[in-house]
């Protein structure tokens, strides 16, 4: 037997013809769960990866953390309100990412990267379009942001979430969201300018 049936179906004595009705209902319920979970994977897996990655999960950790996120979501599928799948996935992904960051910090596996390293990378113009290198530079810049700022910045700039949605998701006032976003942008551009200046000076030298 592949899997045991729920006890009430298999063991309870029921009037003739009633058991299969219950089984069909159970089957429908299970089918609906599978359909819902599959739709979440199909529609939002890239988003989950993006949220995780921009929330500080490294490239090496990404596959594992995607799996962890989806497994958590699958376990809590019944808790997800219809229509709230996306925000639920983001919330779980953010928690998983926070956990992954803490784990990484405990292992002291975080590379201390200097901005000069990226500037070296950007010596050749074609490198500018190299997504992998850009990703590394973005990781460095995002890593320089405070956690609260990074979160709001990522959700708005990469997930296209409105400030209202971000305030609901994080359970913080919209004014706080706006303030953090402003500060995050300012810091982001400050860091990016530092990279550009370093790049220009190295190229010019």
């Amino acid at each position: 037997m592949i899997i045991d049936f729920p006890a009430p179906i298999a063991r309870r004595r029921s009037p003739p013809g009633a058991w299969h009705v219950r089984e069909l209902k159970t089957a429908m319920s299970l089918a609906e769960r599978d359909t819902r979970l599959r739709a979440m994977v199909d529609d939002h897996l890239d988003m989950v990866a993006r949220v995780l990655r921009n929330a500080g999960v490294t490239d090496a950790q990404l596959d594992d953390e995607i799996q962890r996120t989806l497994i958590t979501v699958a376990r809590r599928l019944d808790d997800i309100r219809p229509g709230a799948e996306k925000s639920f996935l983001i919330q779980i992904a953010l928690r998983v990412a926070a956990h992954a960051r803490r784990t990484l910090a405990r292992r002291k596996e975080v590379d201390i990267v200097d901005v000069a390293e990226f500037v070296d990378i950007e010596r050749s113009p074609e490198r500018l379009t190299d997504q992998k290198r850009m990703r590394q530079l973005l990781d460095w810049i995002l890593g320089q942001l405070e956690e609260d700022l990074r979160l709001v910045f990522s959700l708005h700039e990469f997930e296209e979430m409105s400030m209202l949605d971000i305030s609901k998701l994080l359970s913080i006032p919209q004014g706080t969201v706006a303030s953090r976003l402003r500060r995050a942008r300012s810091k982001f551009r400050e860091l990016m300018s530092a990279v550009e200046v370093s790049h220009a000076s190295k190229v010019g030298s």
Partner: protein, 250 residues
């Protein structure tokens, strides 16, 4: 609060430099590799490997389908004798006293459902058909229909694994009805269909005995006797061999 009421444009929409655009593009262009997607789906039990819930669903639906099939077969088993209700009259006329034809009409139907043994007795040995016929000749016309219903209800509660057997029983019931109705050729056609539908029939021996009877009734005595001899040789100690031997000794 203008900041909250009107969402500011994203930086990528108004980039200050190509580098800013490329950086923000890198933050957006995160794609899950096909291998990772496949691994996630596999972990969740989709695609190649079914999830626990999918497995339960498949098993559950399989049960439901089996139940439906059992109900259809049972309904056919019950309905078939009713469709051929008029035919047994002629059969009883051959096997029993003419005056009992009407009361024996449903009784022959019940005989075909009482059990394989009594039905075979009815078809192969007219004398053996008498015992199940006697109770209904005493005016108990209600019983046969009840026994038919009981047979139907018993089959309807057959477990799915036994549905094929129920279908075989139903098919051989039709053969007996045809034989009792004096239509041996029709009985042979049903037997042909039975052999096509059930190449690994569990009631193949009974079918063969019915075939012998059908051949004999159709006037093909020589062919019937050959098959009977072959049957006895192949199954010298079989349950049905005694009846076939009695047919040969007739």
């Amino acid at each position: 609060m203008s900041d909250t009421s009107r969402p500011p444009p994203r930086l990528i929409e108004q980039p200050q430099s190509p580098l800013e655009f490329s950086l923000l593009r890198a933050g957006i262009d995160v794609r899950v590799a096909p291998a990772t997607r496949a691994a996630v789906l596999e972990t969740l039990g989709f695609d190649g490997q079914l999830s626990a819930s999918s497995k339960a669903r498949v098993v559950t639906f399989r049960r439901a389908v089996w139940l439906l099939a059992a109900m259809v077969v049972s309904a056919a088993a019950v309905a078939m004798p009713l469709i051929h209700r008029n035919m047994p009259e002629r059969a009883v006329g051959n096997a029993g006293p003419p005056g009992k034809q009407n009361s024996d009409k449903t009784e022959t139907l019940s005989a075909s459902h009482v059990g394989q043994k009594s039905a075979l007795e009815a078809t192969l040995d007219p004398a053996a058909a008498a015992p199940p016929s006697e109770p209904s000749t005493d005016g108990q016309t209600a019983k046969p229909s009840r026994s038919t219903d009981e047979a139907g209800s018993q089959r309807s509660v057959h477990l799915p694994a036994r549905n094929a057997l129920a279908a075989e029983l139903a098919a051989l019931d039709v053969v007996r009805i045809k034989l009792n109705a004096g239509e041996p050729r029709a009985a042979q056609q049903v037997l042909d269909a039975y052999q096509r539908d059930f190449p690994k029939a569990r009631l193949a021996l009974e079918a063969e005995v019915l075939r012998i009877d059908a051949l004999d009734r159709a006037g093909q005595s020589e062919a019937a006797r050959k098959r009977a001899a072959a049957f006895i040789q192949a199954h010298p100690k079989g349950v049905l061999t005694g009846r076939v031997r009695r047919y040969l000794d007739k």
